[in-house]
Symmetry: C2
Subunit: 437 residues, 2 copies
């Protein structure tokens, strides 16, 4: 038996992936049946199989790395499908949305923490810093959940979809800055100016590299009439290198690098071919692992009554401050009321980003352990509620709705496997004709 | 700088994958340009970037697990593309080919070792056992390299292709038995009868499970007119579960389980759709990592003159005994001379299988460390030479050649990116029409 156990450990990753594939698909189909996006099912699958519930799956280094590539490809595809002109148009609006979408949750989180957290734990930073840190965690936005949901709904390329995408990416940058400011207050080895400089340098780097790559790639891939595998491989490698550079050299999130790489290839002759192939790679292995992994990260600790109350209040504040903050930002930029609501809702999901921020805070003594429970609950609730709310706010009865530039109507999405499938078939047919000609 | 190094370690896998994708494609295109199969380039890429040469890439747990899934999917696809009736027809022949293809290299390896290895190292098993063990290592066959090459040449579904496929899988089983026999002689805790019983039980298990799955899957997937993603996901999960069960419960290679899973779906209405999707998953990420990993495993030790001579002799014996052994087996089964040569050549590659056997032997004291060098060289030479030789023995000038049942002629394969690309485009077009109807 000892020998079997050893072999089991060595080959256990095969079983884990099989379980993830089956459970995310099964739960996805169930949530689709009750008219919710499939991504809700995938998140629930991880939560239920993971340590939070029955515990037959746990996060391993392997799953962590596969899921990291998963979210990178997800954001790369989002970049590929983004109209860069549209994004530029919504650039200023995105910035204002992100700014208010960071400020108001920060104040909200701080306020709630200040009400409940009045006793300083041993060896922790000052009470005020701790309470501000709860606010910092509230500023996080996990764009991946929203992107997947908008893709499922066919609303990624709408005006509000673009605004969300841009704002979520800027939110990430603002989040890094906020995290650095407070960490530098608690830990003197962190230099805030250095961090800001690196962020600026990243954007200079990304713009220069992406423009050069865009010119070279379009020229090179325009030579052949056929869709060749080498275009896919080069695109993939470029995406990975940009993600790697963003994290390692500039301290910016890898998904921001991946999104830039996608943008650099979005206007080329191979964009649909690339999107089609990366979609296949994503749905077959990477994105099920990624969405399940978010659930697997969740461990529910034991909690006292006052902590439960704190959790409930935190959840309500988390949802409201993002909706109000981002919605207000959108309103300032003259979006219609309906779109303001959509944008606000699209930014609610905290996902894995908030968990990462929380654990970084704990490492430098900014987080009291007892608040991990409420934070986890807040993350789970906001993450699962976002796709559900998005579905409702994008449900338009009026066919002449200002925001209906999506290719297909939302109600259709329950008729096929997913909207993506239909889209991919169309793209497939298209690229087949191309490559056979 | 310390901080950058830490982040670099955490995100280094992104860089590794980017380097693998770029180098395998680049070397693949170079070897194609000089009219060799692309898989030679992919193998060389790993060898050159890895510890054997410049050493900028090394094998990590993550790469090992991704490459394991890579070889599983490769064999799953080979199963999917195999005509089960053809395989049954060549079943008896495959068995005889495998039997002689194990016996003659075993004797050859033992003979060479007996000539050179006359001094027993400290704490090792008896000299005779050690020398037999060198023979055991020579029996290994790495079917993956041959499968990839035959796919590239469009010869996987020929009579000789089927014979090679069957023989290589049976070779694996015989190899396990031989390894177990010798290990049980050196290590009394291994029970040979238990191992044999488990192999028999595996085939009973595989046949029963695959027949049931085949009936259920074909019925279920025949309901819809469309190609749905769920078929791909279920197929993938089934393949992983079969691979896992083979290794963990029966001690049989995971790729044998994967091949059975592929066979179980090969005659269904979704076979071309599945092949197409798994091909994409494979060429975009999994198979570059797998082929590069074989090269990454190679570490060249320092060697004395007598060891260098031993290496050269071992290489020659390794190639000749497989070609003669398997060719003779094929001749007994009334294959034409040309096909006997093809089958013999197709079984030459030792690949990662021989390395695994060698390290298992070292663990129980059957391998003297100084022979690792020659074994590694033998593996590298036989692995790289196989696709090259295969290309030559399959080059037929006569269009009415008995073995030309492959879809496309071998000479075409240099005109498109690879033959696979052309095939995939055809399959794509086919499945598009299906899914749009």
């Amino acid at each position: 038996m000892g020998q079997i156990k050893e072999v089991m450990n060595e080959y256990g990753f095969l079983l884990s992936i099989a379980m993830i594939l089956l459970s995310t698909k099964l739960f996805g189909l169930v949530t689709r049946r009750i008219k919710l996006p499939q991504v809700v099912g995938a998140l629930l699958a991880g939560l239920i199989l993971g340590p939070a519930c029955i515990g037959i799956l746990k996060e391993t280094e392997f799953l962590k790395e596969v899921s990291e590539i998963g979210v990178i490809i997800l954001m790369f595809c989002a970049g590929l499908e983004t109209d860069i002109k549209e994004l530029k148009k919504t650039g200023k609006a995105s910035f204002i949305i992100a700014l208010l979408g960071v400020a108001i949750p920060l104040l909200g989180g701080w306020g709630v923490a200040a009400l409940f957290n009045t006793v300083n734990g041993e060896g922790l930073a000052s009470l005020t810093l701790q309470n501000i840190f709860i606010g910092i965690i509230m500023t996080a936005t996990s764009v991946s959940i929203t992107v997947e949901t908008l893709k499922e709904l066919g609303k990624l390329s709408t005006k509000s979809g673009n605004a969300i995408l841009g704002a979520a990416l800027i939110d990430d940058i603002l989040g890094i800055i906020a995290l650095t400011v407070i960490t530098s207050a608690a830990d003197t080895s962190v230099n805030i100016w250095m961090v800001l400089l690196k962020i600026v340098l990243f954007f200079v780097f990304a713009i220069v590299v992406c423009i050069i790559f865009n010119i070279l790639f379009n020229k090179w891939s325009g030579h052949s009439k056929k869709d060749l595998r080498r275009y896919v491989i080069i695109g993939f490698a470029f995406c990975l290198l940009m993600s790697f550079s963003a994290e390692v050299f500039f301290g910016v999130a890898d998904i921001t690098g991946a999104f830039c790489a996608g943008l650099a290839m979005s206007n080329g002759p191979r964009a649909t071919y690339l999107t089609n192939r990366f979609d296949t790679l994503s749905y077959m292995l990477l994105s099920p692992v990624f969405f399940a992994s978010i659930g697997l990260k969740v461990v529910l600790p034991q909690m006292s009554m006052s902590i439960v109350i704190f959790s409930v209040v935190l959840c309500i504040v988390a949802v409201l401050t993002k909706v109000v903050g981002c919605g207000l930002g959108a309103k300032f930029c003259k979006f219609k009321n309906k779109d303001c609501l959509r944008i606000g809702v699209g930014m609610v999901s905290r996902g894995e980003v908030a968990l990462i921020v929380a654990s970084k805070g704990a490492a430098v003594g900014l987080m009291n352990d007892k608040y991990f429970g409420p934070i986890v609950i807040m993350v789970v609730i906001t993450t699962i509620i976002t796709p559900i709310l998005l579905k409702f706010v994008y449900k338009s009865k009026n066919k002449n709705d200002s925001d209906s530039s999506g290719v297909l109507d939302v109600d259709k999405f329950n008729k096929s496997e997913t909207l993506e499938d239909t889209l991919q078939d169309l793209i497939n047919a298209d690229s087949c004709q191309k490559s056979l000609s």
